[in-house]
């Protein structure tokens, strides 16, 4: 356990699988299967593999390699705000 984790605070995340429902409001395909390239390190991950922090008012999904924020999503009753400044590229498999 100590090899990949640190203090209990550093484990205060889940993962991008939990974005499948919320992001279905915006995307026509399941975006958790999409591959992302991180602006910070260039690392490739599926959206499902991003480390997800939900303690704030929205979702912050961080790169599992360098921990930079890759994607942020906030939902208000009437608006959805998606901040992708940490994402170079999003490559989504299409439903055939």
């Amino acid at each position: 356990m100590t090899s990949t984790s640190g203090t209990s605070d550093s484990l205060a995340y889940t993962d991008g699988n939990a974005l499948a429902g919320p992001l279905a409001d915006l995307f026509a395909v399941d975006i958790t299967r999409a591959s992302t390239s991180c602006v910070g390190c260039g690392g490739e991950s599926a959206v499902a593999e991003l480390h997800l922090y939900t303690a704030g008012p929205g979702f912050v999904a961080r790169c599992p390699h360098c921990h930079d924020p890759v994607l942020r999503y906030v939902r208000t009753p009437s608006t959805a705000i998606l901040d992708l400044r940490g994402t170079v590229r999003l490559e989504a498999p299409l439903a055939l």
Binding site: L11, T14, D15, G21, A48
Partner: protein, 248 residues
């Protein structure tokens, strides 16, 4: 069938639907399985989850994701809920939700942490605590599938009192292997000392081509995924699902 379901699920907008409780089973003193019927259910692929939404009379609403425990079965799904005393949703679902009562669900959700039995690939499933729930859907679907690549389930749990799906884990089908690992207290006569998952708990016979599915509390998933990589699993073939720092 399952492929059809996932395609349909992806191309149709998700919408909230009413689910009715048609049966329930007690799993442990703090966990219950709810059998829900949903009129227009698209069908799911093992590993997928649903969002559950509860709305109070004053309009306050809260939602949570729960993995589906059952194999695809018409318009019914089973959710196995672990009671979290300080939780907002699980105390209602485990203690107050009664037969014929209704809740709102939307799903099936998630196309990443899924195992379609038709893929017929050797797979090792590693679950910690209630992380075994989506893996149980994969096991149950495996039992009825025609394809028979080997599947093994390694289930890490605190004590014998916490074991979910107990009766089914004794029922070994050809190609299917179960191993329960106790971290705090084991039944009498258990050879393995109690303790967290370690390298020797995972069969070395797996190959780099095999798939691995790991689900549980975040610390468990990180440790288990690390062990799998050490043993020789290809990182790209390990799929993970984390449900929080402490989990249930």
């Amino acid at each position: 069938m399952a492929r059809t379901a996932i395609r349909r699920g992806l191309s149709q907008p998700l919408r909230w639907q009413l689910a009715r409780l048609v049966a329930e089973r007690t799993e442990t003193s703090t966990a219950k399985t709810l059998v829900l019927e949903i009129d227009d259910w698209a069908g799911h692929v093992p590993g997928q989850h649903v969002d559950v939404r509860l709305t109070a009379e004053d309009g306050y609403s809260t939602q949570l994701s729960y993995s589906i425990a059952s194999a695809p079965d018409g318009n019914q799904i089973e959710l196995t809920i672990q009671l979290l005393q300080d939780g907002e949703v699980s105390p209602f679902l485990v203690q107050d939700f009664g037969l014929d009562d209704r809740i709102e669900v939307r799903g099936p959700i998630g196309g990443w942490f899924v195992l379609d039995p038709a893929d017929d690939v050797p797979a090792v499933l590693v679950g910690g605590g209630s992380g075994v729930v989506p893996l149980m859907s994969m096991v149950r679907a495996y039992r009825t599938a025609a394809t028979k690549s080997p599947m093994s389930l390694i289930y890490s749990v605190r004590s014998p009192d916490d074991v979910l799906f107990g009766g089914e884990l004794d029922d070994q089908s050809p190609g299917l292997a179960f191993d329960v690992i106790y971290t705090r207290r084991a039944p009498e006569g258990t050879q393995r000392p109690v303790g967290r998952l370690m390298r020797s708990d995972i069969s070395e016979q797996q190959t780099a081509q095999d798939r691995a599915y790991v689900c549980g509390p975040t610390g468990f998933v990180e440790a288990a995924a690390h062990l799998l990589v050490e043993i020789g699993y290809n990182e790209r073939h390990i799929r993970t699902e984390r449900f929080g720092p402490s989990g249930g």
